[in-house]
Each structure stands twice: as structure tokens, then as C-alpha cells.
């Protein structure tokens, strides 16, 4: 994977970037694709009857097609552009949720969810008088499958969980969980923010109903993401936001809506970003998700061993072979914020805090953690620099 690093112009600055679970870096091909839109055929889509508008529409819809292929959707019409995973989940909570969730219905989530897969459901549940139950984790930071099965016997209306934990790195057994949830009659949403970039996803094989992910966590731009939904479900759902480009016909008496995906894409879309994400997905597919995952597991194993050797460290989550490229840890006596500040002085970028998983922090009995996370461009040398920085922190706080 050596040559890959040169595809990412930011690394000429010399930083060690270990915060890819937060946001990734972008390769030149993505930046070029966005720049080409702005400099060569910048026009709005779906309306202008002139050449560059048609070209913009073609590239924009081409990106949708590419995303559909990436997750093996039946049709590009099942791909809805959003600003990211958060908006994708909110769309489902507001549109499908308010049309379907009723008083005393059960929603099942897990304690390892990111706030974006917790808060929209808490708001919905409070509004509808629905209940929420959370699947716990075991000592290794993996989902309690017996607890999950027990909750399925209560016939939940919705089951939502993450493909990969952004704090623990745990890879959840999606196939097994979806099968159990569907058998119980539930609609299933999967948060793919940490899964799609590293493992990919096959929506048809998964059996899920909704899949949400973000562009900026997979070498694409910020401000763009995807909600995939089963065509029949999308057809039955009311619009989430209303305005231009999502209608069939508007009169002063009322409006009929366009079909999905346009029904959920009110207003001018993030055209350059969608095209950029299309380019990112093409780039990742060219390298191969299996190769990316293997590279990350190699790095994760190396990082976990090196960290253990440091001493006085607590590493959260499962063994390297059972996780994605995420390692959260706590160095005895030094707050993660202080670690991050000292590491910054070594030009090493990590995340420090609760990672938007406060309930998980509480479950783990910590206020915050330090997190190093990897991607296809990460090198072992960067992990060595992390170790050097951590040794320096130990010296300062000794």
C-alpha cells in the first residue's frame, strides 16, 4: 500500500494522521473531480436545458449509480443523498418513524451507538410514547447476543445498530442480527458510518431496510452522505424536507410529490460533493475494500502490541482480529486531552474525548478516551510516532 500515500496531498505536510474514524483525508482524484465540476461544467442539475447543466446532471446521477453499485443496491433510486449519516438517520426517524412508530412500540438500540443513532430515536420515542431498550456489550466490547435475542422476543418495531463501533472498533455480526430482527418483524437500520469505508456493505445480502453512511469518512468530501432504503419502504414514506425539486406538481391547494429519491432531496443538492464522493468510491473500489481491511488489521495488531508494551495502558474493545482500524485507550494518570495536546506537539493527530458515545463511556466507566484510527494511507511509522509521543507524555506527567 506504499504508493497510496502519495495520492493524498496533505501528507506532504509531515503530519502523522491517526484520526480517520473522525474524518479521512482526500486523495487528489477526489479534489480533481470536484474542481472539474466547478471549473468546467458548473451548473445546477435537473433543470437547465443547456449542455453544461446536462453534463452536471449526468455526472451527479452517475455518482448515484456508482454509490448504488458500491453497496449493491437494486437500483440507484434507492440512493438518497444527504449531508451525512446524521441526516440520513434523522430522515428515517422523522419520515418513517413518525408515520409508523406508535405509543408503547419498542425501539431497540445498543449501548455502543454514536449519538447520531441515539438522539433521533430518543426524540421520536419521547414524542410518540414509545420505549427504547439498549443491547449491552460484554467484557470484550462486543454485543451481548443473548440480550439481543431476548429483546427480539418482544417484537420491536425498529432495530438500529452500528456496523462497526467508532470507539471500540468492534465489528458487529450484521447478517445474524438483521435476520433475527427481521424474523421478529422489525424494520432494521444500520449505521454504516464506520463500516462502509473499511468493510464495504452489501445491502441486498444484509437483509436490512435502511443503511446510512457519510462521504467524509471514506476519502470523500464533507457535507455529503447516503441513505439507502428498500424501494417499497421509501415509496411509502412521506417527505422529510419540502421545497424545490422534490415535487411532481404544486398548486395553491396542494402538492403531489416526486418518487424517491427526489422526494427526499428538496433544494439544490451538494453537486460537487456528490461527484467527489463518486470519485472517492471509485478510488476505494480500485484498491479493493478487502485489501484496505487487511492493511488496517495489520496496523491495528501492530498498534495494540506496541501500546501494550508501553505499560500502564488500558485498551478498550476486542482483539485486533475482530475489529476495524480503531484503537481507543486510556493511559494511566494522563487525561486524553492532555495526551492529544502533547501528541499535537509531535505533529500526531488523535481524537480525545467521548467520541460522541457518552453512554458507552459510562458503560466503560471512563469520562473520555484517546483514540487512534487508521485508513488505507496509514503507515506503521505513524504508529511509531504515536508511541514516541506517548512516551514523552509519560515523561512529562511522571
Amino acid at each position: 500500500m506504499g504508493a497510496i500515500r502519495q495520492d493524498f496531498p496533505i501528507f506532504s505536510s509531515g503530519i502523522a494522521y491517526l484520526d480517520s474514524a473522525n474524518t479521512t483525508q482526500r486523495p487528489q482524484v477526489v479534489l480533481d473531480a470536484m474542481r472539474a465540476y466547478y471549473t468546467e461544467y458548473n451548473a445546477n442539475i435537473h433543470r437547465g436545458a443547456y449542455a453544461i447543466s446536462e453534463m452536471a446532471t449526468e455526472r451527479f446521477e452517475g455518482a448515484r449509480q456508482r454509490l448504488a453499485q458500491f453497496i449493491n443496491a437494486r437500483s440507484p433510486d434507492e440512493i438518497i443523498w444527504t449531508r451525512g449519516t446524521t441526516e440520513s438517520i434523522n430522515l428515517v426517524a422523522y419520515s418513517w418513524g413518525r408515520a409508523n412508530v406508535q405509543r408503547n412500540d419498542l425501539i431497540v438500540l445498543t449501548v455502543m451507538e454514536h449519538h447520531s443513532n441515539l438522539v433521533p430515536w430518543q426524540i421520536l420515542a419521547a414524542e410518540r410514547g414509545a420505549q427504547i431498550e439498549y443491547v449491552d456489550i460484554d467484557g470484550a466490547g462486543e454485543l451481548d447476543l443473548d440480550g439481543f435475542a431476548a429483546l427480539m422476543r418482544r417484537e420491536p418495531k425498529l432495530v438500529a445498530f452500528t456496523q462497526v463501533s467508532n470507539t471500540l472498533g468492534s465489528i458487529n455480526p450484521v447478517q445474524e442480527l438483521v435476520a433475527a430482527a427481521r424474523a421478529a418483524g422489525a424494520v432494521v437500520l444500520i449505521d454504516g458510518a464506520q463500516g462502509a469505508p473499511h468493510l464495504g456493505f452489501d445491502v441486498q445480502a444484509s437483509g436490512a431496510d435502511f443503511y446510512a453512511f457519510s462521504g467524509h469518512k471514506m476519502a470523500g468530501p464533507t457535507g455529503i452522505g447516503v441513505l439507502w432504503g428498500r424501494r417499497e419502504l421509501l415509496a411509502s414514506m412521506p417527505p422529510f424536507m419540502a421545497g424545490g425539486d422534490m415535487i411532481r406538481s404544486v398548486t395553491l391547494k396542494g402538492t403531489t410529490y416526486a418518487d424517491a429519491p427526489q422526494k427526499f432531496e428538496a433544494g439544490t443538492q451538494a453537486v460537487a460533493e456528490a461527484i467527489g464522493l463518486g470519485a472517492a468510491v471509485e478510488y476505494l473500489s480500485g484498491i479493493g475494500l478487502a485489501n484496505i481491511h487487511r492493511h488496517e488489521q495489520d496496523l491495528t495488531e501492530y498498534a495494540m502490541e506496541s501500546l501494550q508494551d508501553l505499560g500502564g495502558i488500558r485498551i478498550f474493545g476486542p482483539p485486533a482480529g475482530r475489529r476495524s482500524g480503531v484503537v481507543s485507550f486510556d493511559l494511566e494518570g494522563i487525561h486524553p486531552h492532555d495526551l492529544a495536546t502533547i501528541l499535537d506537539r509531535h505533529q500526531v493527530c488523535i481524537r480525545a474525548g467521548h467520541n460522541c458515545t457518552q453512554p458507552l463511556m459510562e458503560r466503560l466507566g471512563v469520562a473520555a478516551v484517546a483514540r487512534a484510527s487508521f485508513y488505507l494511507y496509514t503507515e506503521k511509522g505513524e504508529i511509531d510516532r504515536l508511541l514516541e509521543g506517548l512516551k514523552d507524555a509519560k515523561r512529562i506527567f511522571a
Partner: protein, 127 residues
């Protein structure tokens, strides 16, 4: 090795041996705040007599910057009139820490001031 301009000895000392740490037997005023960015918590308790802060304690958990900042602040508050304490601001706290602090870490440094302002004096948020 980096220089230790940020984590100076006195800051580490206040972090490891915080002054006025714990609880008062009887507090006239008590308040705590959470930094939503990191979940760090600081609480403060005051014993006030005739407009003068006779005693103060702080408790909580957090990074070296938030803990040292709180510890330094309590040292300064003891014996101050409420009037004087009300006038303390962001610049006083930063100056007292004596280090160059980034925007990202400013929230850590100012958490204890926020506790003082919001809790004890009902003033608006400091940030």
C-alpha cells in the same frame, strides 16, 4: 523531546496536588458544570460571610488544564469579596495559567470560571 512550555511544573503540580479539593461541611453556594465536548465535570462550593468568600472547595475530574485552572482559581478566590470575584474574567484565568492556550483547550481552562459565574453569581455563560 519537546519542551514543556505548556505543561509547566506548577501546572502539573496543581494537577497532581490540587489545592482546596473536596467538599465543605457547609456550603452557602454550590454549583457544577460539565464540558459537553469531553464530559469533564467541575463543581465548586463556597462559604460566604458578609460578602467575603471565607472558604472554597472544588471537585471533579478532568484534564491537567481544567484541574490546574480550578485549583489556581480557588487559591485566588479565598478571602476575596463577592464584588471582586464577580469581576474575574477570562483574561484573569488565562493570565494566571501563564501558558499560551489554543482555542480548543480554552474551554478546559475556563470550565471553573464558568462554574463560578453561572453557579455563584447567576451571570451569563462566560463563553
Amino acid at each position: 523531546m519537546m519542551d514543556d512550555q505548556f505543561y509547566r511544573e506548577y501546572i502539573l503540580d496543581h494537577y497532581k496536588n490540587p489545592r482546596n479539593f473536596g467538599h465543605l461541611d457547609h456550603a452557602d453556594i454550590a454549583h457544577e458544570e460539565v464540558n459537553p465536548l469531553c464530559g469533564d465535570v467541575i463543581g465548586m462550593e463556597f462559604a460566604v460571610k458578609q460578602g467575603v468568600i471565607e472558604d472554597v472547595r472544588f471537585y471533579g475530574r478532568g484534564c491537567a488544564i481544567s484541574q490546574a485552572s480550578a485549583s489556581l482559581l480557588t487559591e485566588r478566590l479565598k478571602g476575596m469579596t463577592l464584588e471582586e470575584a464577580r469581576k474575574l474574567g477570562k483574561d484573569d484565568v488565562v493570565e494566571q495559567l501563564g501558558i499560551e492556550i489554543s482555542a480548543a483547550r480554552l474551554k478546559c481552562a475556563l470550565l471553573s470560571l464558568k462554574v463560578l459565574k453561572v453557579g455563584a453569581y447567576g451571570l451569563a455563560d462566560v463563553d
